[in-house]
C-alpha cells in the first residue's frame, strides 16, 4: 500500500476534528475527497503534511513503508509528499528561484541523488513555468508576494511539477480560480500523472473533477469518510448536495 490511513483521530484545541478515519491509496491512483465546510478535509491535508498544531489521538499512517509519524515535515516532503496549499503563504524577501532550487536539492540529497546545478535548474524552471503559462518575470519575485489568487495556485502547481512528488495533496486548489485558470492548473496536474505517483484531491465541487478524473471519490462528513465510490458520487453531490450524507 502506498498510503494507508488507519483509524485516525485528531484534535486541535480540545475539538475533535478527525474521527476514526480510514483511507487507502495505491500507487498511480487519483482519489478525491469531497465534503461540506468544516468536515475536516484541510485538517487531513495538514496532518499528512506534518503540521504540528494537531494532536494525534489514535491511529496510524503509513507512507511508502514508513510510519509517517516518525518523519518530520521536511522529511515527509523529501520522501515525496507534496501539499498544494489552499491559502499559500506570502513570504516577502524570499525569492522564488533560489527557494525552489534549495527545495529540489534537499529532496535529491535525501534520495542520494546528485544535486542539480544552477544552470540546469534555471532551464528546468523556465520550461515548467512556460508549460503552466507562468510569466518568467514572476520567477524573479518573492514567494507568493503580491500574487493574485490564480497566480498563487498556478505557482503551487509549478512547485509541484518541479518537485515531482510521489503523493500530491491538492487542498481546494480550484477555489478562487476562474475557468481559464482552472483549466491551466488541471492541465498541469494531468501532465504530471504517471503510474508511479498518486493524487489526493480535496474539493467542494464536482467541476474540478471534470478536468482531473478521479479513480475514487470519498465523501467526508464530520471527520469521517462516510461513503466511497467512483465518479458517480461526485455527480450525486453536484445534484443533491451533502445533506443526504450528514
Amino acid at each position: 500500500m502506498f498510503l494507508e490511513i488507519k483509524d485516525l483521530s485528531v484534535k486541535i484545541e480540545n475539538k475533535n476534528i478527525l474521527k476514526s478515519l480510514n483511507l487507502n491509496i495505491n500507487k498511480g491512483e487519483v482519489h478525491a475527497i469531497m465534503g461540506p465546510n468544516g468536515s475536516g478535509k484541510s485538517t487531513l491535508a495538514n496532518v499528512l503534511a506534518g503540521k504540528e498544531d494537531y494532536e494525534i489521538l489514535n491511529g496510524r499512517i503509513n507512507f511508502k513503508d514508513n510510519d509517517l509519524f516518525d518523519l518530520n515535515i521536511e522529511e515527509r516532503a523529501q520522501e515525496g509528499m507534496f501539499l498544494a496549499f489552499q491559502y499559500p503563504v506570502e513570504i516577502p524577501g524570499v525569492n522564488i528561484t533560489p527557494f525552489l532550487h534549495s527545495a529540489i536539492n534537499s529532496k535529491r540529497k535525501r534520495m542520494n541523488e546528485e544535486e542539480i546545478d544552477n544552470l540546469s535548474f534555471a532551464k528546468l524552471l523556465k520550461s515548467k513555468a512556460m508549460d503552466l503559462g507562468i510569466n518568467i518575470d514572476m520567477l524573479k519575485r518573492s514567494v507568493n508576494t503580491g500574487f493574485s489568487g490564480g497566480e498563487k495556485k498556478r505557482y503551487e502547481i509549478l512547485q509541484m511539477s518541479i518537485l515531482n512528488p510521489d503523493l500530491a495533496i491538492l487542498d481546494e486548489t480550484d477555489s478562487g480560480l476562474d475557468i481559464d485558470a482552472l483549466k491551466i492548473v488541471t492541465d498541469g496536474v494531468n501532465k504530471l500523472k504517471t503510474k508511479d505517483n498518486s493524487f489526493l484531491i480535496i474539493t467542494h465541487y464536482q467541476k474540478l473533477l471534470d478536468y482531473i478524473k478521479p479513480d475514487y471519490v470519498h465523501v467526508m462528513v464530520n471527520g469521517s469518510i462516510v461513503k466511497s465510490g467512483g465518479s458517480e458520487i461526485a455527480a450525486e453531490i453536484e445534484k443533491d448536495g451533502f445533506q443526504k450524507f450528514q
Binding site: 503534511a49 506534518g50 503540521k51 504540528e52 518530520n72 515535515i73 521536511e74 515527509r76 516532503a77 523529501q78 507534496f82 501539499l83 496549499f85 499559500p88 503563504v89 513570504i91 516577502p92 524577501g93 524570499v94 527557494f99 525552489l100 534549495s102 527545495a103 529540489i104 534537499s106 529532496k107 535525501r110 518573492s142 514567494v143 512547485q159 518537485l163
Partner: protein, 408 residues
Amino acid sequence: MNIQDNYLKNKKNIFFSENKDIETHREKLINIFENDRFDKKNNESLKNINLKNFIDFKYKYLISEETSVINNNHENNYSIVSVNGQCSSFKDDKIEITKILDEDYNDFSKNNTIENNDHFVNLNSLFLNSGFKIIIKKNNNIKIKISNIVTDDDLTIFQKNNYICEEGSSLNLIEEYENKNNSTSNILNVIKLEKNSHLNHFLIQDNSANHNLIITTHSSCKKDTTYTQKVYNFSEGHVRNFHYSELLEANSEADLQGIFFLKDNNTSNNKTFVKHLAEDCKSNQVYKGILNDRSKATYFSNTHVDQVAQKTEGYQLSKGILLSDNASYFSKPELKIYADDVKCSHGSTIGPIDENAIFYLRSRGMSKIAATKILISSFINEELSSIDNEQMSELIQKKLVRYLSKVK
C-alpha cells in the same frame, strides 16, 4: 564617587575646563545629576539600563599617537583611524580636519534642546575628552571611512565630533566600531548640512560583550539637503543609538534606518526624534530588530511637525522578530502634528517568526533551521538590498551569516 567629585578630580584631563562659560554650563549639568531633577519614568535614555552604573564610573583616558588620516589617492577617498576618539589634523582643498574647539562646544550646548533630558549627552558634555571636526568644503563629493579604535581596557571615552557639509557638497561616511576592550565610548556626532548638501552616513557596530557604545547624533538640515543614516548593530555589548534631527529649511529630508541583531543578555536602546520645522520636508524612520535569547531592545520614534511645516511627509515603521520567549522589544512610535496639510504614518509590529511561513517552507523540504534563517534574512532583505556600496553590502552579509550561525 559622586559626579561632582569625579568631575573635579579629573578636570585637568577634560576639554575646555579652563573656559569659564563652559565651566558655568557644566555646573548646571552637575546640578541636574546631583539634585536628581529628572523624569525617570518617561525618560527614554534610562530604559533597560542602570544609570547609576554609568554615573558612578571610574574615569580613565589615554591619548594615543597612532591616529592617521590617509588620502587614498583614489578620487576623493579618505581613510581615517580615530584612536580613543582622537583624530590627526589634516587639510587639503576638499576637506579640513581639526580638533574640536571651545566654540564648537558652545555652539551645540547653547542651541540644542536635548540636554537636560538626555543624560548621556549631559555626561558627554561634562567629561568631554576627545573629538574632532570635519569640514567638507563647498561643492566637493567625498568618501570617508573612519575606523574607531579603543586601545585599552577600562577607558571612558567622551567624544564630540562635528561634521559640516558646506554648500553643494556630498559626503559618503562609513564609521566602523569593532572593539574588544572592556571600555565605554560615549560619542556625540553633531552634523550640519548647509544648503544643497547631502550626507550618507553608515554605522557598523560590532563590539564585544564588554564594550558599551553610546552614540547620539544630532543632525540639522538646511534647504535642499538630504541626510541618510543607516545603522547596523551586530554588537554583543550594550549599544545605544539615538538620533535627533532638525529639518530647518524647505525641501530637506532625513532618512533614518537601523537594524539590530541581538542575542544572549544584550541590550540595545534606539531613538529617533525628527523635528519638521519648515515646509516641503520629508522624513522616514525604519527600525528593525532580531532578538534572540534574553536580549532586550527599545525603540522610541518621535516625529514633530511644526505648524509652519505644511506639505510634510513623515513616516515611521518599526518591526521586530523575537526568536525566544525571553527576548523583548519595546516600541513606541509618536507623531505630534501641528500643521494641517501633511502625510504622516506610523506602525509597529513585533512578534515571533511566522509559524505558517516556517510550515510552508518546511513542507517543500527545507529544514526548520534553514527555514528560520531564510525568514530572518528575508525580514531585512529590503534594507540590505538597498545598500548601494558593494564593499559595505558584503561586510554586512558576512556579519549576518555569523549571527545566523548562532541561531538554533
